[in-house]
Symmetry: D2
Subunit: 353 residues, 4 copies
């Protein structure tokens, strides 16, 4: 059926939430074959011991982190790094030198070097890699040519939802560049798989609160993504909240309504923005919700405006682990390999509830 050669890929950090999701998506992808999976937690067991991956793929034996070496990466076309930022900074060069291309899902390569101390709390040890790193959010823009890029930086989950909602309004000239406020809420898997009292069920269930108030690292990433998408430089206010649910992000984006624009203009801007973008779908504002997009690579987008109060609002809903991480990583890998962008990504589950 499909004569394109199958690309061998590896996943480092396969036992984390993004890694698990990525393994699931790769297992169903007709042109990717998982040849290496790395995780200390699962080392020595097979993928099928942990994930519903049938047949061949599931038999792969997971290897420990210390085997994330050039020798292990040799022969892989793409290595996906589902590792913390500082681990990615150490591993990316190893994979690149082994001849593999890299898709990094962490924040390691998303910002200019000078932003790391403030937003990530460390000085970037491999700032030399940043200029060539291709940040790519397919529906918005990229910092280079992804088809030839060796190192691709996959966008953050909040940044994806926030950028797409804001961009739809900005492209439609519905709102001003100044004063954009992004109120976002995410499920708990966004924080990764870990032992933490703050993320224990007893503390999160029945609760809702903001966190990293006015200092979340996706703030400059959203600003950069909007610039890469062709917008003039601007500043956004970004406020994440923690939802008592596992998966999904809703970004509620407020902007100052341009003179003469209406609710109908805002809705039309969404329609124009989603046109021709296979993963984007327009919906009424109160139908932009989490259930229909969980486990899928889809983005629901909607907008409204109140001329009396001079404000427009756009909503975006995504699955933080799929469109916000593993799904978008495969979408980027598809683009890197020159195959159809949607390959392996349209039939992911996701019927509600």
């Amino acid at each position: 059926m499909n004569r394109t050669p199958v690309a061998a890929v590896g996943i480092v950090g396969v036992s984390g939430y993004s890694g698990m999701e990525l393994a699931r998506i790769v297992a169903g992808h007709p042109q990717l074959a998982l040849a290496l999976a790395i995780s200390d937690k699962w080392a020595g067991t097979t993928l099928a011991d942990h994930l519903p991956i049938p047949s061949a793929g599931g038999a792969l034996v997971v290897r420990p982190q210390k085997e994330a070496t050039a020798a292990a990466f040799a022969g892989l076309e793409i290595v996906f790094l589902c590792t913390p930022a500082e681990a990615s900074i150490a591993l990316a060069p190893v994979a690149l030198e082994a001849g593999a291309r890299v898709v990094d899902l962490s924040g390691a390569f998303r910002l200019p070097a000078n932003e790391y101390p403030r937003w990530y709390g460390f000085t970037h040890a491999r700032a030399d890699l940043l200029p060539a790193a291709c940040y790519s959010m397919p529906e918005a823009g990229a910092s280079g040519d992804i088809r030839s890029a060796r190192l691709v930086s996959n966008p953050g989950c909040y940044a994806t939802a926030s950028t797409l909602a804001a961009l739809a309004l900005l492209r439609g000239e519905i709102i001003a560049a100044e004063g954009i406020i992004i109120n976002a809420a995410s499920g708990t898997t966004g924080a990764g798989r870990k032992a933490s009292e703050d993320f224990s069920f007893s503390e999160v269930d029945g609760d809702f609160r903001a966190y990293r108030v006015l200092r979340h690292q996706h703030t400059p990433e959203i600003e950069r993504a909007l610039a890469l998408a062709g917008q003039p430089p601007l500043k956004v206010t970004f406020m994440p909240h923690l939802l008592p649910t596992r998966r999904g992000i809703l970004a509620t984006v407020y902007g100052r309504l341009n003179q003469g624009k209406t609710a109908a203009d805002a809705a039309a801007a969404i329609e124009r923005f989603v046109a021709g973008k296979p993963f984007l779908k327009a919906a009424k504002p109160d139908a932009v919700r989490l259930q229909p997009i969980v486990s899928t690579n889809r983005v629901l987008l909607g907008a409204d405006a109140d001329p009396e109060r001079g404000v427009a609002v756009a909503f975006a809903a995504i699955d933080n682990l799929v469109k916000g991480a593993a799904g978008q990583a495969v979408q980027n890998a598809n683009l890197m390999l020159g195959i159809e962008e949607t390959t392996g990504l349209l039939n992911l589950a996701g019927s509600a509830p």
Copy 2:
């Protein structure tokens, strides 16, 4: 111990979520005695059949809605109406004519008559009662003298959280009056007790979405409450979201930072605002959360600011059924009776989680 006479009160709509909460609070209140409870759903059974109300109070037999008559209200000092707005409009005059004072928990008496068609979808049948209705949010302001008021309009849940957070920043001159954006999220009990597919567990769990986008009836109420609190007339953007939890509201309020103001100024404004207000408590922005306030009459408030982006944010967390409904109703009743504002409201439960 307490020589103040005990006031006989009645609750119409006792089987709804606000009514149940109110019955619980009244049962533990040393100076209120529940003498009438009305609900078709529970008619003929005792309160103790449904609620953990000990001894005397629990033995009260609930009467059907049709017995909400002047005869039934006679002799009561206060009648609490936990009924839909249109039912309250019909019942309030009956109670007033029977000589009782009324605390209405619906939206029936919160706005000027001309606002009802737009925001509530009906023409007010008893607009004659509105001028004398005393809207009272004790920590913000009131539209009259509650000590002598016969008809008291109890604030809405969203309006309470939103007004207090915005007011703290406005009083502190931290933000401008223009461009206030209130992003709020509520648990499901805010929608009342009812059969509805949209509010079924299968649809709400794992979900998050906005609703009544740019047309929620608490928008003009917040604007009015801020005016009653002494602020010049202003317009706010208010956006409610539905949380997958039962109880609690978090309001995240954004404003345009006044020149020269800092994060420290914002925090100080909160401290000044809560000073001397027994139910208000200042907290760090990410500690303003739902768990600690659920089942209590308390309000957690916090604030921060980003001078680089010219924005300040304030957070308020309340229990929608207590401070947002039944608790504030008792607080208002205390003021009406001239007794200590906190009577019966300090020992409500609420240790987390």
Copy 3:
């Protein structure tokens, strides 16, 4: 790639939870093509308006219930009925007469006629269809030859989990036939999609309780399924509980330990039972949980025993909407069509969480 002809199928009741799940599975199935979808709720819209079904499949326009006629069913190889039992009893003959084969997901054809008044509360209007109806739980047994059956009765969700767990212990001769107790718990989607105060988020969240105590209609179905699986007639005690989650069933099955049997014997019985059954997987008792099986057709099974107390226990976890409904229906359809049993069912989502 696949030269087997594709079978045209229809779904009646596509907007219910089982129907939605079935549409999702059929959309990804290489040898089924959805040619008819019926639902009053979605009539006139396309499947893609509601479900993430790409391309051709998504464009199908849903038709109203009144169009569930012989004319509409003509040309379909299989009609899936995702309708209440009494509707299925009316519709199955229509589809059969139109030449289609039927897979019914309701309880309409699961029991002998004389059991309906007691367990379902109605007299069966088409008892004549019952003898030829083929009840089929592929890993346990069937009441006829599914390859030639015209009317297939798909098992109930609780019955599937309960039967498989009990059967593993019975086949292994770990427990006696007498005194089996099945304590089961299900997510809310098992109750269907509907407006109901009892199933509202406010009532279910934070709650847990039994329901239909000692009178649930899956009791005789489990007893019949065990008999069809080759066990001597026996009676089971079945007790369903409602979990505050959307999807998944855990059956905890207790039996009286046969003399001399141990915990190791119980575990070995599970291993033998799952061998060669592609959807069954053995796990340690405390690893039989809901998250890994949600959205998949898989069954996790585990067992243990306490000789001192003379008891063995087996656990089974399934997704009530997939293995407990739509997935097993497709598994049965595969068997009806003579194609590989797992076709279209192995790559369903389901990585935790």
Copy 4:
């Protein structure tokens, strides 16, 4: 009003879930005064910084664990230990020697010494204290005279729910002593307040599973509690499950129906059992649920039977932190002090939801 002297009490481990709940209850208790609160986590802050405790009580400054000394305990009438079992074994003698009486909420003093290695995994370091330790579950029985006991062992949460449900059937001679099976499910706070991946929101939400299968330490405690309640020695099978909720336990207890007994007999046995016990309340089997008892010291009990299958079932619902821990501890303290058993326990919150 109340002329009984107020008893000074202390809480060690006040920042844990049981400790927090205990502080809340003591704060509202007219005859207990919290004079010492110990927790490393909260050391140096006041109780009011963490809990909604008004006025005097809230001003108490929490002291670090190292100050849990005889000097600190001197002058206290009762010390509540909300500490892990091994810490309680070390602390109880210190408090006793300081002249205080002790209520221990851990498992440290619930079993004979020889049971500790098997069920708790350690050898009891102060087995000498066990004979005089008074295990007291007021509605069932006690191992000594609580009015004079110096060291009181407060029952476990599961043991409380399980024992009361089983005892109601046994006392009513509804079921045989042999073959009792207790299927129980608890909210996450039963596991305490801690960082743990297994108890993270991402792992628990949407999940349900058994744990400590056939080896939970409440098994022998239930057997002992039934013996203390006057039953002949018997063995029970106890199976705990983890619910995706924070608070509450439902015990579903199955027994072999005695000859000639009916469902009506089972219900009548419940009615007789609850008569005269102020915290127990009979309900229909499917009304024994968690929401109405959360945050209260109440127990809902119900029962049914199926003579055809020879089985009876009883249900008990409690709040694991109140009747299953802090509430029962205060109930025991009331009995120790010779005051009314219900003092300070009737007005706890708990209206649903």
